[in-house]
Amino acid sequence: MLLKPQSEGVRSLSSNSETATPVVDAKRDQVLAAVRDLLGEALVDSHFKPGDDIWIRVRNDAWQASIKKLRDALSFDYFCFLSVIDWMPSPYGRGEDDPTEPAPERDTVIRSGYAGGETRMQVFVRVVNSTTHVGLNIKADVVDSALVIDSLITVYAGANWHEREAHEMFGIDFAGHPDLRKMYLPIDFEGFPMRKDFPLLARMVKPWPGIVDVEPLPGDDEVDESSEGGAS
């Protein structure tokens, strides 16, 4: 049973996408084509999962300009969030190492996610068209030697707090942001806690009790893979 229509125009759009098979996603396909046309050179890479979402990556120096274009030309008028991903695998794993043993070898290769990337840090933002409800995940590389990118505050006023949060948690500078004060942490806090090489101190000073929990209980005959997941 379909929903009772409230405003016909909007509803028919959304119910079409629900009945369509997930492989064909004409709505998002058209949006991606329009985005490609609009951004041209500034678009580095894109990733499209039909029925799910679109990811694009733009050049660092075209970050603000291309998002402004997307807002004006394709009416991505709703600002959802802005954040940063640190693609370096954590040298501490999940903090479950036994402190009496030497630390295990860990994968340190930086691998980026959808729409690729060449740097450790990536800024990403999600914007949505409030009429068609198609969202767009936009990423941009930030090189380690100059952790700076243009602020989106002139494009979406709501980016203000998100950029402040990203600045204190990852140490990314947003050029043009008027007020990059700390939001959560004490003023004299040093370091950037959300970076992967910032250790979670609670897991460092005391071994994770989950390590002990994997031992089978007395009378527990069944020693199988499930006991390893017992910490969950």
Binding site: M1, L2, L3, K4, Q6, S7, V10, R11, S14, S17, E18, G51, D52, D53, W55, D77, Y78, F79, C80, F81, S83, I85, D86, P89, S90, R94, G95, E96, R111, G113, Y114, F124, R126, S130, H133, G135, N137, Y156, A157, G158, N160, W161, H162, M169, K182, M183, Y184, L185, P193, M194, L200, R203, D224, E225, S226, E228, G229, A231, S232
Partner: protein, 388 residues
């Protein structure tokens, strides 16, 4: 019409007072509200610079409840994360779990059985009712009316009892699992829920009579704290705050998720005014609609298992997923990045209140001191949802 007239007189009064302040060369004053203040639902601190009775500049100071869930999620396995995210919006906990679980399921390519999807949707709406009914009661307290909050606490208890009897937890159910639910519903639960939904519709009528028709309530909320449509969008406001500004957008209706909202007949309410009254009114209507959704879904829950076949040790394949749902406070979403490991590589938690409250420096400029309280109450935030 009443809203328009009141808004115009409010703006005229603001302008006249500002001119008077200039003529009198009044000295500015900094007013600190909070961190412990009844109007802030927790520990939000607001620093307001006043000129006479008007706010020149106001800024909320967050961080009194920052718990670093994004970092903590990185050292946990996927099933462990739900116990953390329960505590983001603590009044509607079950609703917090759903988008994260859906994101993990999307990456794994698992879908919960139909029965589990029905129960999920029902529990989701029950947590909305529990959450918003407290808001409706609390609204009166902000304006000096004590009675509604007692009614709200009394009637919310019925919903919490239902959630407790089904999940075992009043506030933190931790009931949603990747691939389904922890348990089936207890015997007799469906009949009891029907009776409670009837009571809750009575509660909505009572609140509407007591509060929304009240002249003082209308005078304090109509035409005050007006957010235009385009401002609401660029600040990323969501939920009732966005619909009160005339944007017809509800994530329950406008995206396809493996949930059962489309099986019920209900309405998305919008309001053209964008003022404090509109935001409160939308929430009242939404509570009514939620009881309708629950009532309809209760009758059509199919038989079957509540858990799909998932491995005992859950490894989520490599990929990125974004899932957001229409939570009691607004759009709550998780951007989950997995590297094929036991735990997530990165979880970005997009909580509704963070965006909803980030508009306050813009919104509070020029308002009078007593209106700070009503505007904040009508924006409706939960501290854990701002700071995460």
């Amino acid at each position: 019409m009443l809203g328009d007239r009141q808004q115009l007189s409010y703006i005229a009064a603001q302008a006249a007072d500002a001119r008077l302040n200039l003529e009198l060369e009044t000295e500015g004053m900094t007013l600190n509200i909070g961190p412990q203040h009844p109007a802030t639902h927790g520990t939000l601190r607001i620093i307001a610079r006043l000129d006479g009775e008007q706010v020149v500049w106001a800024e909320p100071a967050c961080g009194y409840m920052h718990r670093g869930y994004e970092k903590l999620a990185e050292v946990r396995t996927f099933p462990q994360v739900t116990s953390l995210i329960n505590r983001i919006d603590w009044l509607g906990s079950f609703a917090n779990e759903v988008p994260f679980i859906l994101a993990a399921e999307k990456l794994m390519g698992v879908e919960a059985p139909t029965r589990a999807q029905y129960i999920r949707t029902i529990l989701f709406e029950l947590s909305r009712i529990a959450n918003v009914s407290l808001f409706l009661g609390d609204l009166g307290v902000q304006l000096g009316a004590i009675t509604p909050v007692f009614i709200a606490f009394r009637d919310r208890e019925y919903v919490l009892n239902l959630i407790e009897s089904a999940t075992g937890g009043r506030f933190h159910p931790n009931f949603d699992r990747i691939g389904g639910l922890k348990d089936d519903l207890p015997a007799g639960w469906i009949d009891e829920t029907r009776a409670v939904m009837k009571k809750l519709r009575g509660f909505c009528d009572q609140i509407e009579d007591l509060l929304f028709g009240n002249e003082i309530f209308q005078a304090r909320t109509r035409g005050i704290g007006v957010i235009p449509r385009d401002v609401a969008l660029q600040y990323g406001l969501s939920g009732a705050n966005l619909r009160a500004s005339g944007v017809d957008w509800d994530l329950r209706r406008d995206q396809s998720l493996p949930m059962m909202w489309d099986k019920a007949d209900w309405k998305v309410w919008t309001h053209p005014d964008g003022d404090s009254f509109a935001r409160c009114w939308i929430r009242l209507q939404e509570t009514r609609e939620s009881t309708k959704i629950v009532d309809q879904l209760l009758g059509s829950i199919p038989a079957g298992p509540v858990m799909a076949k998932v491995p005992k040790i859950i490894k989520v394949p490599e990929g990125e997923a974004w899932v957001s749902t229409e939570n009691p406070l607004g759009e709550m979403g998780y951007y989950v990045v997995s590297r094929g490991d036991l735990g997530p590589f990165r979880v970005k938690i997009r909580s509704a209140s963070f965006n909803n409250i980030s508009i306050t420096p813009w919104l509070l400029r020029g308002v009078y001191v007593p209106d700070i309280v009503t505007i904040l109450a009508s924006l409706y935030f939960i501290l854990g949802d701002i700071d995460r």
